[in-house]
Every structure is written in C-alpha cells, then in structure tokens.
Amino acid sequence: MINQNNREEIIKLLDSSKDDVSIEDLFLFDLSPYYDEKLDESFFSKQLEFIQEKNRLHHNPNISFTNEQIWIYQKLLENRRSIVSAPTSFGKTMLIKEYIFNKQPNKVVFIVPTNSLADELLDDFKLLYSDLGYIIFDSIKKLDTIIEKSIFIGTQEKYYNLKEFYVDKIDLFVIDEAYKLTDPVKGSREVILNRSFIDTLENSEKMILLMPLVNSIVGLEHLNFKILKSDYAPVAKSFNAIKKLDLKINEEINKNDNTSLVYFNYPKNLEKFYLKNLKSVQNPLLLNNEWIQRVEDDFHPDWLPIQALKSGIGIHYGPMPKFIQKKVIDLFKSRQIKNVLATNSIIEGVNTPTKNIYIVTSKDILGKNDLVRYKNLIGRAGRLGEHKVGNIFYLEKHQTQFEEANVSYKDINIKFILEDKSELFEVNREDNFSEEFVNKDQTQSVNNLDTYFEDTSYSEIPQSEVIKLIDKHGFTVKQLKLLLEYIRKDNIKLLGIIGTLVGKTDLNSLNVTLNSKFSSFNDMVQELHSKNEKIDKSKVISTLIDMIYSFLPFKVVPLLNFIIDIDELYKEYSSSALFSNKVIIEAKKKKAQFYSKFIGLNNPTHESLVVVNKLFEYGIPYHRTKPFLETITNSIPEKFSIHDIKKIVFEDESMNELKIYFE
C-alpha cells in the first residue's frame, strides 16, 4: 500500500541506513524531496531528474513541488474558494508563495495566528516579492484606501483595523491555521477572525484557507469551498513513552547535541520545571553581552528567560516582548541554542528546526479535547532538509491519553461555527447578513438582539449601532449581555466590570502597572515583590510583562474603549447614562495612565501613534524610542512593517541605540 505509514517507514529507513533505500523506493512513495540523496547514473534517475527540474518552483528553484503539491496547486488555480487540509510539513505556505509569484495578484491579504509567524513571513515575503513591485506591510501610517500592489501579512486584529480601507476586491485572501475559525467564541480573537472571514468573503476574488489534516470539514457547504486534502508528509514521526521524562530531558539538554523543544501547557509549568530540573545547566551561548545587558536593563536581571538564555536554554512563551521571542527563535534556527522550552506560543506556524519534542505537561494537548492542536504540536518535530525523522517523547503514565490523541486524521472532524446558529449570530452583523452562507430557514431561526434586550431598558438603542460597536471593539453579544446584567447590580466598580468581562485579574499588578509613581520596570517589580516576598521574583517579572504587553493592551484597553463608547451611544438615545460617572471617569483615567506610561503620548498624531504602537508591540520600551519617534515617523513609508523601522534604524547612525533590538 502506498500510504503515509509506509512512506514514513521508508523515511525512517533512509534516516538510519541510506544504503537500504533506493531511488525507486523514494519514487514509489513520492518522496521526491529526497531524490537528490539517491540519484545515480541510471536512466530511471535521469527520468526523475527531469521531473524534478520540471516541477521546480519559480520563486525558489532549489525546491521542486511534490506530486501532491502539484495536484493541490492546480486545484487552487481552478477554484475561487479552496480549503487546503494537509499535515504540518506538507508545504502549504509554499503553495501560496508560488501562487503569488506566478500569478502576481494585485492585493494580497495573508492572515496568520501569531505575530511571531507574521514576523517570519514578512521577512521572507520582503525578500521574495519586493523586486516584483509588491509593498509588504502590516500597518498603514495614514488612513487611506489600499489599492496598490501589496501584500498584507499579520494577525486578524491588524487586518480588522485595515479592512475598511480595501475598497476594491482583495485579489487573494488567505487564512493560515484556519481551523481557528472552528474554535468556540471565547473572546475577541475568535470574534475578529470570524468577522474578518465573513466580511471578506464577498470582497475577495480568491480565498484560500490553510489548515492541518482533518477528516471532514462541516459548516461551509453553502460557500462553495473546494476541499483539498492530502495526508502527504515528507517527514516521519517516532513516538517514545519515557518513564522518567524529566531525567531524559535533563540528560539531553546537558548533552546539547540535538535540537529539542520542550512543551508545557502554561508558562508557570515551564518556569517550575526549569527551576527544579535545569537551573544548574550551563550550555555555551554565543550572544553578545550588550544584548543581554540591554534586556536586563529594560526588564530585570532576575527574569528567568534571561537567566535561562545565559545558560544556553531558550524560553519562548506568550508573555514576552516580541523582540526577545524573535531572538530565541533566531538563535534556535541558527543552532546557537539547541534547546527551547515553550508553550502554545511556538505551536502555531513558527518554523523551527526541531528534532525532538518532549511533551511534559499533557493537560489540554493530549486527550480528545484538542486533536488539531496536538497534531500541530507534533508536526513541529522533524524538518524537511534537516531532520527526516522527528521524535516525540512523552511520559509513560500519559500513554492512554497519548493514544487517544494520536488518532488518525480520519477520526478528526471539524465544524465551522458558522454552522452553529446561535454562534452564527454572534460573529456576524445582524443588519447585513449574507444570504449566501445562511439559507432562509436558518436566518429565521437565528436569535436576534431583541431576544437579549427584551424586558430591559436598553431597547431604544438601535441594534445596528450596538452591533457596530461590538464589532469595532471585538466583543460578542454574549459579552454585552453579561455586561448589561452585571451593571444591574448596585455599587458598580470598573474593576468589577473588568473581572466580569475579561476574567480573573491580578488587581495588585494592575494597579502597580498603571500607577505613575512606579515609573521604571524595576520600581514596579520591587513594589510588587515587597507585597509578597514569598513569590519568586521572576514570576513577578513575568506577571508584569504579561500585564504590560498582553493583558492591558489587548484585553483591558479594548474593554475601556468599549465601555466609554457604549456609554456615549446610550446617552445619545436615552435620557440617562449607562454607567455611573465614576465608572466612566475611572475608565478614562486608566486608559490615559496606560497610554501615558507605556505609549508615552498624550496628544499623539495618528501617524506617530501607529509607529509607537508598532514599537511597543515589538517590545521596545517607550523611553528608548521616544528620542527617535519623530524621525522614524517622518521616514517610514505609508504602508510598513517592523522591517521598515529596522531599515530606518540601521541606516541612521544616530539610532545606534535601537539597533540592538533588531540584531
């Protein structure tokens, strides 16, 4: 049988003993990426050589498409809407790169799940397509229509902010890791991704969704998507149950031979594991002291990711300035560090040369709950061109969970939430529902806002205006309902609203973070640590970084904006305010404190705000960028990414101080 299991056997054989595999074996199993290793002087080799040469990619002549890729590429050309469902190492992004290079669609939008992946692709696309006249960007300086030959690469949030500027149809619209459209709506990320997708359906000439291999895809039947599936993977996996996984990891990291990724569910598990098992490791690291010194100055010398990096171990998790994440990935890719401890932050799309993956904590990743994410994680093990076989190690006691997770793709079925009538309502605009993807029966059965507003005093507000606001700020109707129910109580406080809508909040950290009395990062650390010295200082530092770079800008500030705007709307249509004056003053104060302390602008122009936001998002503290902000803002192109800022920094000697963040 020519199937993926047998294909993997051949790959393993080739990996362990080259002589046992012939060029014919590789041909039989479509393993053309390995032909070069086995071509000989037979005529059969010459025939395969011809096929390889004929299938060479135009954007990268060192690589040839496999038969499976050719088949899917042809279908992508033929169909207006496609879903590509294939394993991690299939080369899905390669298909898109080749399409853009060959067809040169005028306006391209490529949505990716994380900033880290966006950053990697921005780099790559800039090299590939700048000479073809493309502008590669993720931000715009002026609020102006996007009509030129361009490629936007970024998260859904960034696209959502720019969406209205695409007045003409987008020629190619791609969503990477599009299985996220099937996630239950938990927060603004899912809402914005779904809205981006739905709102762009009719505004794109061609749409391609990329996702891991699954058996069936339900929920898009009305949209005429062509589903293109392949189980082809040119990299094999080897699974190993280990009784004492911590000892094995310690041993391997001390050896420092192979590239390994150690996976944890949460940063706290990761930090605990490091402190217990790896604190004494001293692996070599060739990284200039200046960089280390700068991070220690900007943040704190006791921060665990820095301590670990000085010992030659990378740490990559969400609550971390992006330039540090990037440095860890760069060091790993260039093998200057061979081991990285990571959480989900590394699963989605960042391409790393990983030989081994150790799954330390199993909750949420092993078991039936999240098979697609599990497949995505193990997909990181092995890398075409570097590691033919990727090893996955897990605890022996997790064997049952592991077996449940390690099912064939044939047992994985996903359902787009558009199929779910109540969710459908949440993610779409009530007033411009497209009949294309909901038939009439479904439309009739969908709840509408009236249901939520029945028996409340808010029924005078036009639904369309409310929807516009929740759209704008990335909230859901369910969240609005929660908010409306919460404020029925007496003695409402802003912190209570925050707790209700964005979940458990560390109030101490929130207050210290926004308090202007603690101006430096170190001041904030000292203050928080002094309140509970039993907590490890590094944990305090991580909490603060999470608060500054993630929780405040992406959860709290959008909520503050929403509260302020919906209160204004309420006042406009009714005689009284929705919230007490105290709550609104507090919301405005907290917003101003955040902008003043971390963005550093009191009355910013739109252009400078866009630039400073970009630098903040990259993790550079405001006090470092402030002296150069005006120059950067004036020099930056209308459409730009962090790479354009890097270019300006490197071309201007007066900005030497900033270079270190980009090196």
Partner: protein, 277 residues
Amino acid sequence: MSLTITNKSTSSCSKYEFSIYEHTLTLVDLDKYILDTLYDEKKLNYLFQVDEPLKKADRIKQLQRFIGNPFRNREKDVLDAEILKNISDNSTNQSYYTFFAEALLARLNIDFIDNKLVTGVLRIGDNISVTGHGADGCMYSENNLVLGEAKFYGNLYNGAYKIITDNSFISKEGDYISRINGANNITIKGIDGDITTKTEEEIKKIPLTLSGFVLHTHETPNTKYDTSYNLVNNIKIKDFPANYKIHLYHLPIESKKDLIFKAQRMAIDLIIKEKGL
C-alpha cells in the same frame, strides 16, 4: 533505414519463445539509427512524461539529460574538442554507457513489444522496498509486463547469448519468479505517476517478457563473432516458466567513445536549435 526482426528462433528444448532482433545496417548507419530513434521528439518525450504534451522547455530539459553537466546551459560554446576531452578525461564514462543503454532498451521495448509500455517500479508483497525498476527493471502496460536488463559490453564475443549467461539478467528473473509466488499484493507505479495494484493471479495473467539488450563494441581483431553470434539454441534457464517470452536485442557498434561523442554532440545541437541560438 530500420531495425527489423530478421530471425525468430526457439531453443533446442522447445520450451521458450525467443525474439531475436538483428539488423541489416552498416555500423555507421546503426549509430545514426540509435540516435535518431532516441532523440525523436515524440519518442523521447514519451520516455520522460508519457502522454504530457511537449513544451519547448521540456524538450531542452530532456535533451540536457544526455549531455555532461559542464555543457548544460552553455551549449552554444561547447566545441567538439571539449566533448572529446571530457570523454577521455572522464573515468566515469561507464555510467554514461549504462544509462544510455537503459534508455535505448526502453525505447526498443516500446517500439517492438508494446507501444503502451511505460517505465516504472514494481513492488511485490508487503516488503517496503521495491523489486524492479526503470527501463532496466520494469516496464508495463495493461497487456504486458517487461523485466529488462541492458548491457553495454566491451566486445562482440558471444553476441546476444552473452546477456543470457549474465548473472544480473538471470538473477533478475529468478528473483521475480521466486517472489511473485504467494504474493498477493503487487504494486506497479509508472513514471507518469499512475499506480496499479494486482493480485498474484492477476499479475500472472499478464504476459511477462524478459528483455535483454546488448550494445557490443566492435573489437579488433574480430574474434569468433560470426560463430558465437547466434547461440540461442544453447539457452537454458532453470525454472523459467514456458509461457514467458524473451526478447533479445543485439546491436554491435564500432566504438563506445564515438557513440558517446555523437550522442552528446547531437543532443547539444538539438538544444541549440530549440533555444534558437
């Protein structure tokens, strides 16, 4: 000018069906016949991509497989002296003879056995590894399965008989026969990517041809050639089923080096023509 079947014999044990292909050409004409047949536009394209329409770029890529790496993409500048020097300097000329003979065998099988034959690989049973492959191993169509062995011998002695006594030829068919019995899962994949699976019963119903091909260099002095040329009567292959066929091609050439030179020169000239240089 053509290659025709001039003799078709049966061995003395009256067991096997042989087809012996001989020719009536001069050695110079035979060189020309070989190259004209091999480089024919449609025929060459068929070898590389079966039914795919031929594009100019494909034609160039196909012809480039027949010239040395140093000559590729600078064809116009390549002088005869450079080709000759490359041949005399190159200790790996043997590999050129090998693939060249294999290509020619594939061509002749298509022309003389079945014009639907496609080169491919054959996998018998559940073993991961492949059994026979390429023109030198396996060609198939709906009606025929051909296992072949191409050789480029250094002298004329023994003619077509030489391939019959060659261990690689004997072991190839022996291996196939021993493995096919009891194997219920046979996979054949053609160079065009088509995959066919057969049971033991099904594959045994397809006529099997063993195809031996010999390019002999004409040595001087010419020893025993005339008497040893046609020795098919002596052919005895142990355990070879009577219903299988054997096709043997025997093509003497004047000089290996000359043929390689002509093959490269002609391919280079055709590429120059295609490129419009």
